[in-house]
């Protein structure tokens, strides 16, 4: 269905259910959809499975959602960082589940979900603890491990600009997981710093076509460095 523009972030996240799998964009703080996460905290959904590269930095964004006790499980590639203290405490006290996935496999599992691929074989992780118990197959003399898609009920992503058709462009390395997550969830919600009329974004420069985006909301850019997150 076509993209709708929400008036507020609260309207944008309306209807997210308890127990949902939520894909959360961002690599560290770059591309983190801060305002949508704050709205999700206000909205109240809990028992969430969050899929994101990291498990929160400082006290903001994903870390704030974890701190609010809304997350049952995190699927990510790199939870442990110098400022991941919120996650670290939850994990060490047994109050959160963790599934660690190699970073490229995490991206590709979401890509597969978005592209309608049933599963795929990858050479990454073979012979390591992260491939234990997984089906393997030798292809062209190399052992591969079978990886299944990760599909979200919801994706919360941040982009730079959108037009009213939902076409998105990103900014620098804040793009990271946004375009992949936008394909991989039932409901995709994007916060952007600017929404322009259709036709104002050069079609040649669109990164995420509007077909992947369900809801748009405008929010001020909150570009935080690591120091700014505490």
């Amino acid at each position: 269905m076509s993209t709708t523009v929400a008036a507020t972030t609260d309207e944008a996240v309306a209807g997210i259910q308890d127990g949902s799998t939520v894909l959360v964009g961002g690599f560290g703080l770059a591309g983190m959809p801060f305002d949508l996460i704050d709205a999700l905290i206000r909205q109240g959904a809990g028992d969430l499975t969050v899929v994101s590269n990291n498990a929160g930095n400082g006290d903001v964004g994903l870390a704030a959602l974890l701190k609010a006790g809304r997350v049952r499980k995190v699927i990510c590639s790199f939870p442990r960082q110098s400022d991941s203290y919120v996650f670290d405490d939850l994990y060490r006290s047994g109050r959160i589940e963790l599934e660690v996935v190699p970073q490229g496999t995490l991206a590709e599992r979401m890509r597969a979900a978005g592209a309608g691929i049933g599963a795929f074989y990858s050479p990454v992780g073979v012979g390591t603890p992260l491939a234990e118990g997984k089906e393997t197959r030798e292809i062209d003399g190399r052992v591969h491990v079978l990886e299944y898609p990760i599909k979200g009920d919801v994706a919360l992503i941040s982009a730079h600009r959108a037009d009213t058709m939902g076409n998105l462009v990103y900014r620098k390395t804040a793009r990271n997981f946004g375009p992949v997550m936008a394909t991989a969830a039932t409901t995709v919600i994007a916060q952007v710093t600017e929404i322009v009329p259709a036709g104002e974004i050069d079609p040649e420069t669109v990164v995420t076509p509007g077909i992947f985006v369900d809801r748009l909301v405008r929010a001020e850019a909150r570009r935080l460095t690591v120091e700014g997150a505490r």
Partner: protein
């Protein structure tokens, strides 16, 4: 001096001190061919960038989604939307390109990336790599892109100290830490020497501040030529 070990000459430099981190970074930089696409791992390997000749046409890849990464950003250059894999603000060079994560890792897995340089806890004599998890029950496992790089880059170089703080070698017959990848390391650059792991055993190319005989004693292995 150059000494013969098996069939290949070894550059044995027992008369000098082991390499400093900067000397090691410069030594690795010399082995990166002009025109390569290169990923430098978080931590010490980042230093190698300072020693890559500006005219060599080497393009740095950062797995969070950029080719043509420039030096760390300072002052007004700092833009939180532009960071490296270690989340440090960086700059872009002319000809840079941005892309999403699935494309970024396709560049590795698909064999498009020429070289990566990674840190390591341990490397085995046949080239198994352990660099993501100590296996300590209290440790929080975090793999990031290490497994993708170890399997995907066409040439995997390791930069590490040869001995841990307690004096035990980090080049080992079998890794005791959880593996990142199997038989994936092509060359190991250390403060005490440069080694090539492989199915026939551990080859030594150069030594610094130590003789081949002393290396064999401390590593507990007969080095092959």
């Amino acid at each position: 001096m150059t000494t013969a070990l098996g069939t290949s000459p070894v550059l044995e430099r027992a008369d000098r001190a082991p390499l400093t981190t900067d000397e090691l970074a410069a030594r690795i930089a010399r082995d990166i061919p002009a025109g390569s696409y290169v990923n430098l791992g978080i931590g010490q390997p980042t230093r190698i960038a300072e020693y890559l000749p500006a005219d060599a046409g080497i393009v740095l890849h950062t797995e969070n989604g950029m080719l043509g990464m420039g030096p760390a950003a300072v002052g007004d250059e700092i833009d939180p939307d532009l960071t490296n894999a270690g989340k440090v603000p960086v700059t872009e060079l002319p000809g840079a390109a941005y892309f999403h994560h699935a494309d970024s890792f396709a560049m590795m897995r698909g064999g498009h990336l020429d070289v990566c340089v990674l840190g390591a806890f341990q490397v085995s004599f046949r080239g198994d790599l352990a660099n993501w998890h100590t296996g300590d029950p209290d440790a929080i496992p975090a793999v990031g892109g290490a497994m993708d790089l170890a399997v995907g880059a066409r040439r995997v170089l390791v930069m590490m100290k040869l001995f841990a703080r307690d004096g035990s070698p980090k080049l080992v017959p079998e890794c005791t830490y959880p593996l990142t990848g199997t038989s994936c390391v092509h060359l190991v650059f250390t403060d005490h020497g440069i080694f090539e792991p492989g199915p026939e055993g551990l080859r030594v190319h150069e030594t610094y501040g130590i003789t081949v005989a002393e290396l064999e004693r401390r590593l507990g292995v007969a080095l092959v030529g």
